[in-house]
Symmetry: C2
Subunit: 255 residues, 2 copies
DNA sequence: TGATGTGAAGTCTTTCACAGCG
DNA sequence: CGCTGTGAAAGACTTCACATCA
């Protein structure tokens, strides 16, 4: 695999690194906040601080998009908001379906973050007939029998799976068969999808386990510090000011 | 920054790469499933497929933990489950508090993934006095006035923030001041924490935006394919069988 | 024999450090 | 003069490919 048959469209500009893509939403959020406060321009330093990264990384990231800054001054907030939005494809409307309207699915449906930026909940789908017709977040739940027609009628290409683990793969298969090519998976399962379909996952228990790992490590080092090492608050793994727990090199998997 | 003052404890074995740590929970889940089916051993190939990674990566990952496999045979499932659990710190009990019991907080409280592996919801905390005493997922919600005493009385070191964005930083500060050193943040904000505190974030809208980026790219390439390029289903960014949308190089940020 | 464990190569990402421009 | 934009260096992660050993 990875034959590197990339055809590099001569137009240049193609090939924004995955790691950069994953940070664009962060920059966009920070910029939006600045925009709301009517701040006209920001320096890479300021914006980086607001986004929780370091300024060199931010400048490098922006350099992949083009030269949108002014030397000696900084970046025009409004202009950057537009450029990043466009780059992320947020200038168009993305209808999204949520499948599995349990506690989590309902919470997602109620989440305000959807409408804010180009995303629109086109439908809520659940396998429980008793749920059908019941409104959640103002949207009536539809039965999963209608999954295919909903996808097609609304031109949905992004699906969110919030079902129990066991239902996730079958639901995923149906979504893909109906035309969905991007899936956000909240179920604790590895999904198998055909080539050309992107899957991203969000998994509470994985995140907690990663935290536990580091937590345990801290406890161990504390003990070590008492018995042998000098500094107690030291022994920290180095690292910059940098924030970025998640969303780093997700690599989206076009699998 | 990043002076690299790591003191390498001579004990060897220290320094499991972040990317590997992020995959251990995945392996553990796959192994647990095998264990439940009473499968005694697995090859790296089989386990890798179940976890959605490739076998070379898996073997390399395991090599950081030690030599737990048998050449010509594979890995002993039970033994590996134990070793990974231990490495992740799941052999001990981690009391967790959830702050912000709205739709999402309630969904998290109800989520079964907690109890399953070493995590225990020690308390639910909300700022709304009307919520106080109301049971959610069988646990009575407590008012945030009691946050500090709850943390201390229960020896909580992991906190989950599911508040609105505006409340997240203040809540985070209080958690940290009370002794929490690991935070899982569901609020769409960048949290600032002192050195030695780990933060991981889960952000629906960021994930969707990343998907939108790729979705847009697909649409563009389709168009390009029609007008100029040959293959339609081609033009895919290469990549392995590999799954791994999230949880790749999170780098936990000890900031 | 067959699958692990691992140096070495390759690729991607971050950081440095400074030229260049407004 | 100050801040952007970017080559180049450093570092992290993945993949290869094969020696090694049960």
């Amino acid at each position: 695999m990875a034959t590197g048959r990339t055809h590099r469209p001569a137009t240049r500009s193609r090939g924004i690194p995955e790691a950069t893509v994953a940070r664009l939403p962060l920059y966009l959020r920070a910029l939006t906040a600045l925009s709301e406060r009517s701040v006209p321009t920001v320096s890479s330093e300021e914006l980086a601080a607001a986004a929780g990264v370091n300024s060199a990384k931010l400048r490098k990231d922006f350099s992949y998009l083009g030269s949108y800054g002014t030397r000696g001054v900084g970046y025009d907030v409004e202009y950057l908001v537009y450029q990043i939005s466009r780059e992320l494809g947020l200038t168009q409307d993305w209808p999204v379906v949520i499948v599995g309207i349990g506690n989590l699915g309902a919470a997602l449906a109620n989440y305000g973050g959807f409408a804010s930026r180009g995303f629109r909940v086109a439908a809520l789908i659940d396998a429980d007939p008793a749920m059908a017709g019941k409104p959640v977040a103002g949207i009536p739940v539809q039965h999963s029998d209608e999954l295919e027609s909903i996808i097609q009628d609304n031109g949905v290409s992004i699906g969110v799976i919030a079902t129990p683990a066991g239902a996730a793969q079958p639901v995923c298969d149906r979504l893909v068969a109906a035309g969905v090519t991007s899936i956000l998976n909240f179920a604790p399962t590895v999904l198998t999808v055909p080539d050309g379909v992107d899957v991203r996952k969000v998994d509470l228990s994985i995140e907690l386990q990663i935290l536990a790992f580091h937590e345990q490590r801290k406890a161990g080092e504390e003990a070590t510090a008492q018995t042998s090492a000098p500094a107690p608050a030291a022994a920290r793994r180095d690292s910059a000011t940098d924030q970025g727990p998640d969303g780093d090199v997700p690599a989206v998997m076009p699998a």
